[in-house]
Symmetry: D2
Subunit: 273 residues, 4 copies
């Protein structure tokens, strides 16, 4: 029976590229699908793969071309990928769908992503009175430098090398307990600013280290809160190994991953006066 249409490729290739200029860093965050149409009947009908470009190679090609060419606009990079594949044997049509996830600059090398941030309030009331815990969730931030993770213990299952420089990305969930229900609830803005400023400015030795600094800054920013709990998933960005393609990768081309992720949680409490 004839094959009347076919298309195949790799979907959801996650690419983060950082351009490290002296004054400030630029960040491009893309999800890319590459798809080919062409004379691939023998692949389907006969199980003959001699014309079947591996989708794994498409993924590699995304990272290798991202290292070699500037990405000023997502359209330009999608065109570059399409030009690469249209000259391959059997290919008659290339479809590249790219999605850019925009970030807003916080400072020279820190960014925030508008992505469904919500503000929370939890009131627990019994006969004695009410406890009020306010917070925010899904405040997504990333910094391109001033983050390290070194000197941790090593056992027989440890393979992670010390990292003097890495991307630090997280989605902040914070909740703080008010000392009474007679406070100015617009404190949320000050606490939010303290969290963002500290994330951006801190010279981080671990997510835990930055979490503590953020908690301390929030308590300092608002005298009305007694404690703050932070949950910081570590959204790992893995440096791509480009050596097989004869390319170096000076902290420039990363895979953004969703799972597994580290999860760091703690409560910082105000010292009793």
């Amino acid at each position: 029976m004839p094959l009347s249409w076919n298309r195949y490729g790799k979907s959801r290739v996650r690419l983060v590229k950082i351009k490290r200029a002296a004054a400030q860093h630029e960040l491009v965050d893309l999800t890319i699908d590459v798809q080919l149409e062409g004379a691939f009947e023998k692949v389907y009908i006969d199980g003959d793969n001699s014309a079947c470009h591996a989708t794994d190679t498409m993924k590699n090609t995304v990272y290798a071309l991202a290292r070699q060419d500037p990405i000023d606009h997502v359209e330009q990079f999608a065109l570059r990928l399409a030009d690469h594949y249209i000259v391959k044997p059997a290919v008659t049509r290339v479809r590249v769908a790219a999605t850019e996830h925009p970030w807003t600059r916080l400072r020279s090398h820190a960014f925030v992503q508008a992505g469904g941030e919500n503000w929370t309030a939890l009131v627990t009331r019994d006969a004695q009175g009410a406890e009020i815990v306010s917070g925010l969730t899904n405040l997504v931030v990333l910094k391109t430098t001033d983050s390290a993770f070194c000197g941790f213990p090593r056992d027989r299952y440890t393979t992670l090398p010390d990292a003097g420089e890495r991307i630090l990305a997280t989605s902040i969930t914070a909740s703080w307990t008010y000392r009474s229900s007679e406070v100015d609830f617009s404190a949320r803005e000050r606490i939010r600013a303290a969290l963002l400023d500290t994330f951006a400015a801190h010279v981080s030795r671990s997510v835990q280290h930055t979490l503590y600094a953020m908690g301390e800054a929030a308590l300092s920013a608002c005298a009305d809160i007694a404690a703050i709990t932070l949950a910081l998933p570590n959204r790992h960005h893995l440096l791509v190994d480009l050596k097989p393609f004869g390319l170096d990768n000076p902290s420039e081309i990363f895979v953004a991953t969703e799972q597994p992720f580290g999860l760091i949680e703690a409560t910082v409490t105000r010292t009793k006066d």
Copy 2:
């Protein structure tokens, strides 16, 4: 066998409240969970509902109190709900969890919500050349006035009354085709601004009517695009009937719904020169 712990209530009550001052409108958008703990053993063990406050009543209470009290801060409204329920028979503890979905003002009565907006590019390449379609998705907007839907045909299954005034809310997906691959792709910013400005300013007789105006504005804003396709889901906000509680509702208290939704799609094309 004993019941060692119990809690029940209503989750995900969606509330949108609009305060219509002369100069500009204020918008509060909340999702609320109300939960009760207390001496409810007879409900569980004996099927005796005489102490079981209906969760449906909790939902009604959210809307009725929202009409009667100002909502300056989400914490304040959560406290108000907790105070209402703590005095009910059998209740020993009330838990109110409220989430505020923040909006940013576009103009006096139009708003945009940062919620995962993405920018898209689709390149289709064959031996002859490339077609480039760029776009954006998930640009969420809402206007509190200047939107009507009247004069539509009525058949035996029509119950919707004419609406001279309603909330208009949507999540914009737009995609536009460039006339060539040699254009300035930063046009995205101009097109985005034209879409937002037109959404905010248009005196709308239907989603279709506003879609067309948005498409026309985008084509006017950028000579490099040949056509634009818009998909506008109509995120219905239903006016709550507060009459059973002896209250009016002058276009102030709404339920935000997710499904079903209207879906309006069309392509506006540039007239050949």
Copy 3:
């Protein structure tokens, strides 16, 4: 500027239809999108709605036709809707997309839906030893009869009438604590069966009432567990009011809703021996 393509309609109309035969009940669970194409230029360009069939009417039409016609196959019902709309003025093309959510029969009027059920285990270990809590999530069930909710307290915000007969649907989350870590963990199957059997057989006066019976049955089924916690969201199915269309609705046509939902949680503990 010309409109080169347009389409509009209502998406995600949720329909549950129950056929109540004496021996057993049949259940059809659909999500339907209705979309029209045609000569609607005046709607978009001039804001003239005289040809714009309201999407709200499409929703009503789904429910009214579902009452009047049998639904033996989803294709048949989609055809029926398409036939209804193709004869309307201005319409040149109707597109009906329907999704059926299949259910498996548990007994004559109870059903289970395969939908991502997971099995959980939580081990908490300190220097003294380990606590083991096992469970399951997302076990979706529905019964078409033997569920009531009557006799609850009424205040000024109560509008819900007593319901002698209603659909009861939930997604079971259960977790049970083992008495030691030296037990047979295949107990999960017996506990799962006890939960399903009791849900199906119980004559329910409230979700709380059924939750307790399920918890008691699980404890009886497995001597190795000390306590069980159940969380049962009440997935409301609302009877559609068909009177505006001159039709009755003898507990046959329902809207399945996702939010708000009731949420009932409790722990049943084994009496100390």
Copy 4:
């Protein structure tokens, strides 16, 4: 300011373990979170990582222990992990949360996962008549053998080795066009069975190869359909490299990944009679 509570670890470690007995294969599919509590103040406050077991090591530990110990019950494996970590310096409490994703056997080495399968129908109606396309989505299947991918072209960006044996996992979306609207729509069951049987039995040289065989089988199973389109995402299961831990991995321990994924789509059409 004091740290009043802290907890950290790795979340969403995806593990698939296959036990290859002669008669049939066993499949265990888990998602695991490992979390530690303890005396970690210096990590947070001083940025001293000397007691901070890396979350990356936790991930490695999951895979290494999974190779060394049988997993008869998810509880047993969670206990094993907790025992491993409770003896580490500074750790006072270990929390292991594991979720098992159950699979149902299709044949000796093929499985199906109940996970939200839906049945679809799309009717397109114009003045001439109706076209009916039926289908199914989200039918998740996996086979542990009889799947290879070899002999594909290699360019400078190709690193994938030939694989004579790999896991093949996909979520089937199928849609077929009926030759008329006067057919027996219960054909869905026969088509579904043909797709599952062929997936399980086919000796696969590529996803494309199996797709074609499935399409051909569906057309043979039902004379009423003219064509079938299949979309098969390739849900990659990556063999874990256990050599750093002095362990081999004879196609037994895999990471299940969600992105990127291959996507293979094609239409098989009945030869005109």
